[in-house]
Amino acid sequence: MYPDLMLTAGIACAMSGALLSVLAPDRVVARGAATAAVALATLVVGAGLLLRLPERSSLALVPELPWLSSRVVAFAALASGVVALALSPVLRMSRYDFAVLCVLVATAAAVPFAASAWLVCLLPLVGFTAVTASLAGRDEGREAAVLLVGCMGLVTVLGALGVALGVAGVPMGLWLLTLVAAPPLHSWYLRLAQALPLNLFAGVVILQASVLESAVIAVPEASQATLSWLLAAAALANSLLAVAQREARRAAACIVASQLAVAAFAEFSAGDAAVVGGTFMLLTVVTASTGFLLLLGALEARRGETLGLVRPHGCYASWPRLANAFLVLGLVSAGLPLTLGYVASDLVLRGAFAGAALPTVLVVVSGALNAMTMMKMYLYLFQGAAGRPQPSDLRPRELTVAFGLMLAAFAFAFGLLPN
């Protein structure tokens, strides 16, 4: 009872952050108000989680998994929201952008508790509508807004059709594939990554992860085997596209889309270990992948340009701490040993191989390709001949956040493990 009340209070708190940031007199105050509101929401939801955690302390108890994983993902979504807000560049985001980020995070925290397929399909639309509004206000975002509206329209129609037909397989499968940006339905996602500030895009990623956490109830069991094949293929296709990208933002978006597809693949697998691994993969996406997106945003803000992957940029000399944090978070996201990403991929592979050997092979290859792209991004963004040395490495606030994220990635891997 109390945990659920606290959860509701937390979500309301996060939503109030949106209102506060719109009403704020300027951007700095808006960011502060939004961060404070979402931080409060995180504390409330975290306290609610702790109240019941001793009773249900293990993610390995698969019957208890939905209860615990939904709360853990909601908590992680809110915590990452705080990080995204705290690292937001004030000059590149308006008050409305902070409000949109609050709405995204609040929606992400609410979706895992959707009790019906209708809610799972419709709740994300709240967040995506807010993103569309933000895109429409930017000159460079209008094309992305059109694509987002088109895809979300398709998603809504498919979702509604699927639920109306009694959770039918084909529309719900297409709904899910569009949501994880499976090629060729991925245009909207890459455009979003190009057009939005990366902090807002991180909010979209958080929302996607939380929708996937509860997507199992929206897809019929009969079509889950086919869907796991399609999701494994989508993961591989996105990884391949990531390797081929010449722009850092698009490459990062492809990597995240691939990881989301792997997480969804695991959620639909028959093995218990894979299901638990899927939850850990979502946590990896919400913490580490969001973290490296935010650091990429911090790097672009310092360089004042969108970065390409054609030649080495030589940023290491100016910003070594930023480079190291980017490398660690990128590698955690790609499955660096002893971290959350490693645990996630290990469990997913072990659990899924028995039931679906070939799709699991695709997932393994996709993981290797993601790691290659991640290393390419690090090497091309940070190594190479340095230009003029520039002084502003990670500021204390950014350093605290980056260090906290790294610590979380390691601590999750040892503290919250199934055992």
């Binding site: 218990d272 645990v343 340095a386």
Partner: protein
């Protein structure tokens, strides 16, 4: 009487041996993260504690094993995570193979660390170099003293990451960056084999633990009859070993990896990292030998690599590339020995080659310096004619053979241009097509939207006017 307490102590020494370099790595990294620069002496002191400490522990264990003190062959340090039957046990192993290779490797790392203190004195990336060196030492110790393939994979990946970052050490030039990426791509592509083998073994056999071989006394991955997945796992392991040890057709990355600092090149690509492939296959020798065709394939690959390395190494124009192809040749021979079941010979060959090659690579820069000095004193260049006329090069006179050697057997072109290049080209075409289509669609919609907005605006204006 003393054997039981000693055995108990030995059980603690193995995790400590791995933990020491890890602790040194963290201790080197933390102060710069918080903006506190430390001196070279501080960093080197930490490295000494981490690497020399681990070396001494490994030597103690080796002495204990040689003198017949009962040491536990496997050390269970607890459970990392578990879901149902899928358990990750933190298990270390102690045997002649691991101790011989591990103590020798750590000794070489300690020597390279001592050498680098002066070699990299006042170099910009001094602390970075040592941080990566101790990370490499930790990975190597983990590979040598792993009690299961799962643990070995962790060390294997740490070695790969540290190796990549050290190739890109001189990060002001674009070439080291590109070569580091190339090495990493080869590593990761072949690591797919190791990951798949582990997954196959877990699903097929329930675990991937090493057990004591009754014949040799080494810890090996046991072969179990009637498991179809075992064949797949064995093939995947050979694939993983090929990438790590630069076997044909993946040998192109090794000479390029010599872009890093000389001490790291010496211990990574001359001595230790490049031998991890044969080491892995020695650990899994039962599995590989259980399939005669696989063992035969390994011999063929090894011999082909040895021939390729010997041929291409003759026409290299820089000393590091020559030494790299020399390593390729020797590792190819070691692979063939593993395929032939000559396990002890392979181990001796690894240790002998590692020691000899490290010395050669460490000597290379001063050798060049000495040669230049000699030429200055003589007043003219020392001719290569005598070398080229020797018997070893006469067979290269055939133009086809010479061209083949110059083009490195065409393997780089085959992999980079024909395979990877073609794939990337196709993907980029698809990506461009997607971007054009998406833009065209969005623009078509947007062209209509402003008109509607204008009409709506007109209507409002008219309403105001009226």
């Amino acid at each position: 009487m003393l054997s039981e307490p000693l055995s108990h102590v030995a059980a603690w020494l193995v995790p400590l041996l791995v933990a020491l370099p890890v602790a040194a790595f963290v201790a080197i990294l933390l102060p710069p993260l918080f903006g506190r620069a430390k001196s070279e002496a501080w960093t080197y002191g930490l490295v000494r504690i981490g690497v020399v400490g681990a070396t001494l522990l490994a030597l103690c264990l080796a002495v204990a094993l040689l003198t017949g003190i009962e040491v536990p062959r496997t050390v269970d340090a607890g459970r990392w995570f578990a879901v149902g039957h899928d358990v990750f046990e933190v298990r270390f192993g102690l045997d002649g193979l691991g101790l011989a290779y591990g103590s020798f490797s750590l000794l070489l790392v300690a020597l390279a660390a001592a050498f680098s203190r002066r070699y990299l004195h006042r170099e910009q990336g001094f602390h970075r170099f040592y941080a990566l060196l101790v990370l490499f030492a930790a990975g190597l110790a983990l590979v040598c003293f792993a009690g299961s393939l799962d643990m070995l994979l962790i060390g294997w990946e740490l070695v790969g990451i540290s190796s990549t970052l050290l190739i890109a050490f001189f990060n002001q030039r674009p070439n080291p960056v590109r070569n580091a990426l190339r090495a990493f791509v080869t590593y990761r592509a072949c690591d797919v084999g190791l990951v798949l083998a582990i997954v196959c073994l877990h699903v097929g056999w329930g675990d991937a633990d090493f057990v004591r071989d009754p014949d040799g006394g080494w810890l090996v991955l046991p072969y179990r009859e009637g498991a179809a997945l075992g064949v797949l796992a064995a093939g995947a392991l050979v694939f993983a070993a090929m990438g790590k040890s630069a076997q044909v057709p993946f040998s192109g990355w090794l000479p390029r990896a010599m872009e890093g600092p000389t001490p790291s090149s010496a211990i990574f690509y001359g001595a230790l990292s490049v031998h991890l492939g044969p080491f892995l296959l020695l650990r899994c020798c039962e599995l590989v030998q259980s399939e005669p065709w696989l063992a035969a394939t390994l011999v063929v690959i090894g011999l082909a690599t040895a021939g390729h390395g010997a041929l291409v190494g003759r026409v290299q124009t820089d000393i590091k590339s020559m030494l790299a192809y020399g390593s390729v040749t020797q590792v190819g021979l070691i692979m063939a020995e593993v395929g032939l079941g000559l396990h002890l010979l392979a181990l001796l060959h690894i240790i002998g080659h590692a020691g000899y090659r490290t010395l050669q690579i460490l000597r290379a820069p001063s050798l060049l310096h000495d040669r230049h000095h000699l030429e200055q004193m003589l007043g003219h260049h020392v001719s290569h004619a005598a070398d080229l006329d020797s018997d070893g090069h006469r067979w290269l006179a055939a133009p086809a053979m010479y061209r083949h050697a110059l083009e490195r057997g065409g393997l780089d072109a085959l992999l980079a241009d024909r395979f990877v290049g073609a794939l990337l080209g196709a993907l980029r075409r698809f990506d461009r097509c997607e971007q054009r289509c998406a833009s065209a669609f969005a623009r078509a919609v947007l062209r209509r939207l402003p008109r509607r907005r204008a009409r709506a605006g007109d209507a409002v204006e008219k309403a105001h006017v009226s």
